[in-house]
């Protein structure tokens, strides 16, 4: 009895996203699917969950061939998928999210639904307020809601696509605990990730994919070197942070209070020196973004002062912050950083600072071609921003950054990037740091924070709980701080 995939093919245009994928997962197995971005993992999972139809190939569950034409077919066969960005309805309540799409009577019985929600939540140790709006939940909680819902609907195969992106360390522990329990109960769990350590920690067996094909299957215990070699063909060694001499103070905050909708950062005092890397840790929405936006000049503080070098920028316009050498790269690369529909060449021209009325497109395109090569962007000067992968969008954003940046503010510099792109990003950032740029970045990735920061400011519900030295802090300590605990028990 098992889930069997036989020779799945799926192409998008000229790209073969899945090129003859064959895979078998036994009951009670926690099966990892590993591969870098664009390896075809998500496509494969969407095929199994009926979200997209394969061009050819067969899916068998418990010896029976499934006709997967829509998610409805998959749900009826007991296959449930948790998408990378949990597909909840933000303005609806938790309860309505739980009930939407479930079978039952014409008239909605919310009382019975609430009972079912409570039972499902209790079974897995979640707690929800049924009347709360889904938009008030953290990504981790939205995920828990989706898991509870899928299991309540009778899923016997659970697919999780990069489930640890954007959730807290505590929520991750909880998730792993539940997945282990489900496997013990005989469920089939497919766990998609590009993070080696997670696969190693959690899975019984793993399939490694590369360019739409299965490279091989490996049983636990895994060897990291072997997995990496299967993923990339050769071993990537990521270098740590070289020591750099710190210069004079670039950014100085004195008792700054700033708030944005639900988050308030209160009386924060902090300074960052030239050539320093300050990491911002904490659960999503603990104030890191609010802090960064205040430093970027996008939010006006209610109290306190923000100084850049010798200049007091408190309450000044965004333009003044830019002129002072502040550069902000937000988390939404396509939404906030780039312009969808515009090509790479147009992006470069837009940020070139050329003041002439007419655009010299020949010159601009030549410059764009040069920049594309120089920054290893996979795309042409005509490629529009949304056609680029996450890694290449980040490369474009970095390529567009002016040379004289004194303070670089970044959110999730490598979120969703494969190891190669992530390494490239940090090589660029560290080179900037060598030349005296101060870097402040927020990240949910503990390894990234510890590896590249000089100091780490840990945010907890709007306040900086503590600022620690990255060199002497362990991941466990950092994890506990992020969870709001001052010391390791």
């Amino acid at each position: 009895m098992a889930l069997e995939l036989r020779s799945i093919h799926k192409h998008f245009g000229a790209v073969r996203a899945n090129d003859g994928v064959t895979l078998e997962v036994q009951e009670g197995e926690l099966h990892g699917v590993l591969g870098e971005n664009g390896a075809g993992k998500s496509t494969l999972m969407k095929v199994i969950s009926g979200f997209i139809e394969a061009d050819s190939g067969e899916v068998h569950l418990h010896g029976e061939r499934l006709a997967l034409q829509s998610p409805d077919d998959a749900i009826k066969a007991g296959i449930g998928m948790l998408h990378q960005d949990p597909l909840v309805f933000l303005p609806l309540t938790v309860l309505d999210n739980f009930l939407l799409g479930s079978p039952g009577s014409f008239r909605l019985n919310r009382r019975a639904g609430e009972q079912a929600l409570r039972e499902a939540a209790d079974r897995y140790g979640f707690s929800f307020d049924p009347g709360a709006l889904a938009q008030t939940l953290t990504v981790g909680e939205r995920q828990q809601l989706e898991i509870a819902r899928l299991l309540w609907l009778g899923a016997r195969v659970l697919i999780l696509d990069e489930p640890t992106t954007g959730i807290s360390a505590a929520q991750r522990e909880k998730l792993f605990e539940i997945l282990n329990r489900l496997a013990e109960d005989g469920m089939i769990v497919l766990f998609v990730s590009h993070k080696l350590e997670e696969i190693e920690q959690l899975c019984h067996r793993a399939t490694v994919m590369q360019r739409g094909k299965v490279v091989g299957h490996v049983d636990a215990p895994f060897s990291s070197d072997q997995l990496v070699e299967m993923m990339f063909g050769d071993v990537v060694v990521s270098e740590g942070r070289p020591d750099a001499a710190l210069g004079s103070t670039v950014l100085e905050l004195d008792a700054v209070t700033v708030s944005e909708r639900l988050t308030t950062v209160e009386e924060l005092s902090l300074h960052v020196a030239a050539g320093e890397v300050l990491g911002l840790a904490g659960l999503e929405g603990s104030g890191q973004r609010t802090f960064l936006q205040a430093c970027a000049g996008l939010l006006k503080p209610k109290a306190g002062t923000i100084r850049l070098g010798d200049v007091d920028l408190t309450g000044r316009r965004y333009r003044n912050f830019l002129d002072a050498g502040v550069h902000y790269l937000p988390a939404g690369r396509l939404e906030e950083g780039l312009v969808a529909g515009m090509s790479i060449a147009e992006h470069f021209e837009l940020t070139s600072g050329n003041a002439s009325f007419f655009v010299d497109w020949n010159g601009a395109e030549a410059a764009a071609t040069r920049d594309i090569e120089h920054h290893f962007i996979k795309g042409t000067k005509e490629s529009v921003a949304e056609s680029l992968s996450g890694g290449n969008q980040q490369r474009l954003l970095l390529a567009m950054m002016p040379d004289d940046v004194r303070l670089l503010l970044m959110e999730h510099p490598t979120r969703g990037l494969d190891i190669e792109s992530a390494d490239w990003v940090w090589t660029q950032l560290l080179a900037r740091r060598e030349s005296g740029t101060a870097i402040v970045f927020a990240s949910a990735d503990l390894d990234e924070l510890l590896r590249y920061s000089d100091r780490i400011a840990v945010f907890f519900s709007g306040n900086v709980l503590r600022i620690v030295d990255a060199g002497t802090t362990t991941p466990d300590e950092l994890g506990f701080l992020i969870g709001g605990k001052e010391s390791v028990p």
Binding site: F12, K46, S49, F51, I52, S70, P71, D72, A74, I75, K76, M81, H83, L87, V88, F89, L90, P91, L92, D96, L99, L100, G101, S102, G104, S105, F106, R107, L108, G131, L133
Partner: protein, 312 residues
């Protein structure tokens, strides 16, 4: 009392139009052709009733015409992935011109009219009876439509799915919902309801056909769907409020005849003011303070409206 009853009756076409559009937009399809649809269905409804001497056939014809226009919006948006706004606007112009052209021979003709019918017992209740139950089927139907739309959207399972389809189609699809099939269904149902607005004008309120008969009711309805936060009760409230304001403005006109042009525009100014108020942070927070009223107080458009849902 008669005044209030008059206001309630006068708002009937607007109610049909706004509730119909609310249903369509809840599913994620914006039908901008509303004003043209109403005019064409008013003409068709009157013509059909005149020829057959049956008000019922007039209503059915009006609904059918408007449903077909809505279907065109749905097909061009879902199958051809055209911009809903552009298609809707062109359809508005087309339907309006078609109504004027085809309706030429019916101008000034006397036709059948929806008969008045006091609801037994209920109409004898003091005040309430006069205001609500001494009208005709067309007006009673508008009450039913308001309550049913509310009940369906917020109290039934298909209604919850409808909200999901307009809010985040890919998430609804992931839950096994046939997104585009439902969009067809609700756009056509909403369109048919819009057709009733036309019939309510030409077979009840004005009872006849001439150019400009429906007095821009479609455009006003589009604005009131937004003002009403896509909630049937609030949308209906907006319609009644508007008719009440119009009545007050009419009363002032008698006293200040020089200000006729200004006074008839006053309700619109007030509406703009109200839309400003409901979009303030303060109003948005009201829903958090009174969770029971949250749906009623919400002002956000369905996130997926106007968007084409394409499966990868």
């Amino acid at each position: 009392m008669e005044v209030i009853a008059g206001i309630v009756a006068a708002a009937t076409p607007l109610v049909y139009a706004t509730i119909g559009e609310t249903i369509s937009e809840k599913a994620g399809v914006i039908n901008l052709s509303l004003d043209g649809s109403i005019l064409l269905s008013a003409m068709t409804g009157f013509a059909a009733a005149f020829v057959t001497d049956s008000v019922i056939i007039g209503y059915l014809a009006a609904m059918a015409v408007s449903a077909v226009i809505a279907l065109i919006v749905a097909v061009t948006s879902i199958e051809l992935r055209l911009n809903q706004i552009a298609v809707g606007f062109v359809l508005f112009l087309f339907a309006r011109q078609l109504a004027l052209f085809l309706g030429n021979s019916y101008v000034g003709v006397n036709g059948p009219k929806v008969p008045s019918w006091d609801i037994p017992l209920l109409s004898e209740i003091p005040f309430v009876g006069t205001v609500f139950f001494q009208h005709n089927i067309s007006v009673y139907g508008s009450f039913v439509v308001i309550f049913f739309a509310y009940w369906f959207i917020y109290r039934t399972r298909p209604g919850l799915v409808l909200q999901g389809v307009g809010e985040r189609p890919e998430a609804a699809f992931a839950r096994g919902v046939p997104v585009n099939r439902l969009r067809y269904l609700y756009t056509v149902v909403g369109g048919a309801m819009v057709g009733m607005a036309g019939a309510a004008v030409s077979l009840d309120q004005i009872a006849g056909w001439r150019e400009g008969l429906t007095t821009n009711v479609g455009w006003i309805a589009l604005a009131f769907v937004i003002f009403g936060g896509w909630h049937p009760y609030r949308v209906a409230l907006a319609c009644y409020l508007y008719r009440a304001l119009l009545f007050v403005a009419g009363e002032f006109q008698v006293q200040f005849p020089d200000l006729v042009q200004v006074l008839t525009q006053l309700p619109f100014l007030l509406m703009i003011l109200m839309i400003t108020v409901i979009n303030t942070e303060w109003f948005r927070r009201l829903g958090d303070r009174y969770p029971r009223w949250r749906n009623f107080l919400a002002s956000a458009a369905p996130s997926g409206s106007g968007q084409v849902f394409v499966r990868e």
